[in-house]
Amino acid sequence: MFEALSDKLSGVFDRLRGRGTLGEADVAEALREVRLALLDADVALPVVRDFIARVRERAVGAEVLESVTPGQQIVKIVNDALVEQLGGAGAVPVNLNAAAPIPILMVGLQGSGKTTTAGKLGLRIQTRERRRVLLASLDTQRPAAQLQLQQLGERAGVTSLPIVAGQTPVEIARRALDTARREVFDVVILDTAGRLSIDAALMDEVRAIRDVAAPAETLLVVDAMTGQDAVNTARAFNEALGVTGIVLTRMDGDARGGAALSMRAVTGAPIKLAGTGEKLEALEDFHPERVAGRILGLGDVVGLVEKASETLDEQEAERIAARIAKGKFDLEDYAAQLRQISKMGSLSSILGMLPGAGKLKAQIDDSKLDTAILKRQAAIIGSMTRAERRAPDIIKASRKKRIAAGSGTSVQDVNRLLKQFDDMSTMMKRMNKLGQKGLMRHGLAALMPKGGAPMGGGRRPF
């Protein structure tokens, strides 16, 4: 299920190497994989159907470029279509071109992240746009929801409307706008209660709020983990209110985020912002080109780099990178890397972000290999002498026995580590040859030994 699309497509196209144009049958076969990848990424079925039809039209008869395989060619066509469908390159800003006070309405299902996003957006507009923001919670439904927004406002340094018990959401909306006019706020962010799109009474209520507030933006807040229901929600909210923008929350999770495509397709509204963490600053512009790769399972390279830079000790990483570049990577460096990786968290979630690492990740998931193995490897390296770590070639039978005994592992484990280290060194040499650009374009796949499983030719990765 988590196998990357590129892995699958390379399988489909292995026998097609070096043909001139993409034939109908080839495309159909490839698009079956694309369809599955999109569905596994939670793109809604009707949206997948339309998308596949569009891609088929473009792909059949397309020239295969000299430098790429047919599989890569299809991936490129799919990726381009996806970026386009997600809104094209670049981000669409929140619309603040209206007479002050500018009302912004936050709507969505229960628990999608509206209140947190309201706080984040308030902070963002206040600091980046230098406009005075008033936060107002119209959520009279959930216990302590109004208090939550008030506390968020305090943390963010954004004013919030004083809470008056017993008011209806429409009354609060009026009071918020009056207050904003009187006290000269530039922007009023109206947070609403979560509601199900099939709850007629609550949908009527939010329509009434919209009528009173006449918002410049109606932002639909959606959890990036949302499944097929995304289309129903998007359609219902759009029909009821006319959604002007979408905010995708919890993008710091490891969901593929296919809901983005569904939402965008159904509403036609741009995805404007992405929530990327629990901190109040963690609200970012939405970049279609990054998310396209993530949906396709090509990996969110940028996300990976960001995640890495968050947790990695940068100096250490640079030191290692320099040694790799010089071809001097040894087991001490590897041990240092292991420590860094364990800091980054679950290995499989990291690998999920890497292009072309789908198979490796699947193997890891299957064999429940994870941080325990990192620890074992660290133990093995810890039992080596400094000389051994610097020149692993000197580790022969008797040394292996000693190391295995010292680390509570077997000689086989030691062998496995050494073999893996060997593969890794080879890989790094290739990486140096390819350069950074090559790595971005072709992903990890470019580093893999041809035909075999990644790292260690057909054997388990560790």
Binding site: M1, L36, L39, D40, A41, D42, A44, L45, L109, Q110, G111, S112, G113, G119, Q141, R142, P143, A144, A145, L147, Q148, L149, Q150, Q151, L152, R155, L196, S197, I198, D223, M225, T226, G227, Q228, D229, N232, T233, A236, R250, D252, G253, D254, A255, R256, G258, A259, E278, K343, M344, G345, S346, S349, D365, D370
Partner: protein, 305 residues
């Protein structure tokens, strides 16, 4: 609870299955179960979040027994529901409060916004009605006003709420609460926790720490660790459950928001992959909106009979 139960569940589920039911009705009124029909059926399951693999497996099993027959809409639905109910039956297990543990400690975990706090409120109501004395622990010391939210649930259900200062250490609070619970004779302790994404290792580690500290008080606790899962969640739920299970050894699931248009088909995939008990489902925002998980109802709800 007994009488109104099925009707309420049905009311909740029927809305969510309206579309699916329409789809099947459209595809199968007096029609031969051929490849095209099976494919449509498979797509209907995919659209209910069963996932491509599970949908394919369910349909493959279905094909073996029924391919080529002339079937009515009703037959198809019943048979398909039966197929799915078989997968779900082993996980339909209520949460038993073992009186040997006093208090019985329940730790409630999950990603942000899935309905943990609300579910604790509902559970408190349920146990109070069953004649037990629940105690609530406001272990979400991170999210704004999370403590106050749980306190309101405490008032609604007349259950005591143990809360600490803002940003207090959740593990320490849990420990203190267990001491109080023992002294005050509580039967069930429901510990709320801050929502966390499963891929944040630091936050998952924090959860493990809560468990370690709880065990200092009672080595057998927590007696249940419940993952609250939002029914609108798609395929990522599998990864979610996998990691939570690995990190904090969850013992069961509660699926919320089944009163919406999401069909919660991912539960079928989860049942196949992990076999974790599904104890209950949430069908609304009020204290009474918690139902036992019933495999046949759920399956029938999924296919719309």
């Amino acid at each position: 609870m007994a009488l109104g139960f099925f009707n309420r569940l049905k009311a909740g589920l029927s809305r969510s299955t309206q579309k699916l039911s329409d789809g099947i009705t459209g595809a199968f009124t007096r029609r031969k179960l051929d490849d095209a029909a099976l494919e449509e059926l498979e797509e209907t399951l995919i659209a209910a979040d069963l996932g491509t693999e599970v949908a394919a497996r369910v349909i493959a099993a279905f094909r073996r027994t029924r391919f080529g027959r002339e079937v009515t809409d009703e037959e198809v639905k019943t048979a398909l529901a039966g197929e799915i109910a078989e997968i779900l039956a082993p996980v339909a297990r209520p949460l038993e409060i073992d009186p040997a543990h006093k208090p019985f400690v329940v730790l409630v975990v999950g990603v942000n916004g899935t309905g943990k706090t609300t579910t604790i409120g509902k559970l408190a109501q349920h146990y109070a009605e069953a004649g037990l004395r629940p105690m609530l622990v406001a272990g979400d010391t991170f999210r704004a006003a999370a403590v106050e939210q749980l306190q309101i649930w405490g008032q609604r259900t007349s259950a005591p709420v143990i809360a600490g200062a803002a940003n207090a250490d959740a593990a320490g609070l849990a420990f203190e609460a267990l001491t109080r619970a023992a002294a005050e004779g509580a039967d069930v302790v429901l510990i709320d926790t801050a929502g966390r994404l499963h891929n944040k290792s630091v936050l998952m580690e924090e959860l493990r720490k809560i468990i370690r500290v709880i065990r200092k008080h009672d080595p057998s606790a927590p007696h249940a660790t419940l993952l609250v899962l939002d029914a609108t969640t798609g395929q990522n739920a599998i990864q979610q459950v996998r990691v939570f299970k690995e990190m904090v050894d969850i013992t069961g699931l509660i699926v919320t928001k089944l009163d919406g248009s999401a069909r919660g088909g991912i539960v079928v995939a989860l049942a196949e992959a992990f076999g974790l008990p599904v104890h209950a489902v949430g069908v609304g925002e009020q204290a009474a909106d918690l139902r036992p998980f019933d495999a046949e109802d759920y399956a029938r709800g999924l296919v719309g009979t």
